[in-house]
């Protein structure tokens, strides 16, 4: 005698054999679409940050020159020596740093580096996954 489970199982609806493949293809196409969108977004952010980064670096180098940082720094190698004045020397050197511009340029560099990292991860996910698993 069959029990209720056997009886109910006998009237289960079975899907067409290719349904799982069709479902997987659709999921895969969504994955690829998302990956392409992220690749474009990260690439665009990377390019944009690079475009802004180039003049920012030029401006930073100009600020270093204007602030006298190079002059202070060259004292280290001038032979005059900073010996007992080293505390004053370090304070003057730090004072001459264009801090705001340095922070701005570093932030841009970080955005650029992260954008490239994530863009590469979208472009070659299999390769990066394998490399990560190897570690």
């Amino acid at each position: 005698m069959k029990d209720l489970k056997d009886i109910f199982t006998s009237v289960k609806y079975e899907p067409r054999a290719e349904l799982a493949t069709r479902v997987w293809d659709r999921v895969l196409s969504r994955m690829n679409r998302g990956r392409t969108a992220r690749l474009w977004a990260f690439s665009a952010t990377g390019m944009l940050s690079l475009v802004v980064l180039v003049p920012a670096v030029a401006s930073l180098l100009g600020d270093f020159a204007k602030s006298g940082f190079y002059d202070y720094f060259s004292l280290l190698f001038s032979g005059a020596g900073v010996g007992s004045y080293w505390k004053d020397f370090v304070a003057s050197l730090a004072d001459s740093l264009p801090t705001a511009n340095i922070i701005y340029t570093l932030a841009l560099s970080l955005v650029f580096a992260l954008s490239i990292k994530y863009a590469l991860r979208q472009a070659a996910p299999e390769w990066l996954t394998n490399a990560r698993h190897a570690h």
Binding site: D3, L4, V11, L19, V27
Partner: protein
């Protein structure tokens, strides 16, 4: 010796970047979800429904926490929500038909474990056409419990999580479903 990874292990592997792990979950669960969906939205809509369920599961897999629920419970909860949305949009069924607000829940605490019907009635149910007909006639919330318990092999506790109902309410629905079946026979 073959090694079969659990659903939860596959979900974890997918989260770690192994795309093929999700494919295995699709292969494992397509037949189960198809049967469940077909019971409520019809075979014509079931294929699209299964695809939608997996897309939703894939999008939300980051939120899946095996400590809170098994993969099976989690994906059937998604399925149940999709089916409910579908029925609500189609208005083929009142949303309240899937709920049971007026039933006496405390009554279920003393429900006997009636898993089976008398043998004469069981024999009648072996007629597949009759069983199909009776299942379609059952209230959706009763049909749901029977399908999940007997066809999808879920415990009452798992069903409770999927339906968002207390264990006793699920047992009560199961008892009433069996009683309805007997009446119809």
């Amino acid at each position: 010796m073959s090694f079969r990874e659990t659903d939860e292990e596959l979900a974890r592997q997918y989260k770690e970047g192994e795309k093929g792990a999700f494919k295995l979950l699709v292969e494992r669960y397509t037949p189960l979800l198809y049967n469940y969906a077909a019971r409520f939205v019809g075979r014509d809509n079931a294929e699209d429904m299964v695809q939608d369920i997996f897309i939703k599961a894939w999008r939300n897999i980051g939120r899946f926490d095996p400590d809170k629920a098994s993969w099976k419970t989690w994906i059937f909860t998604i399925s149940r929500n999709r089916v409910t949305d579908f029925l609500r949009k189609k208005k083929t069924i009142s949303f309240s038909d899937l709920e049971n607000p007026n039933e006496d829940i405390t009554f279920s605490e003393n429900i006997p474990g009636e898993d089976n019907l008398p043998s004469a009635e069981l024999e009648k149910l072996e007629d597949k056409e009759l069983l199909e007909e009776l299942l379609q006639k059952l209230r959706p919330n009763y049909r749901e419990v029977l399908v999940l318990h007997y066809q999808e092999d879920m415990t009452f506790e798992e069903i409770g999580k999927v339906l968002g109902k207390p264990l006793n309410t699920v047992k009560s629905d199961h008892f009433r479903a069996i009683r309805e079946l007997r009446k119809m026979l």
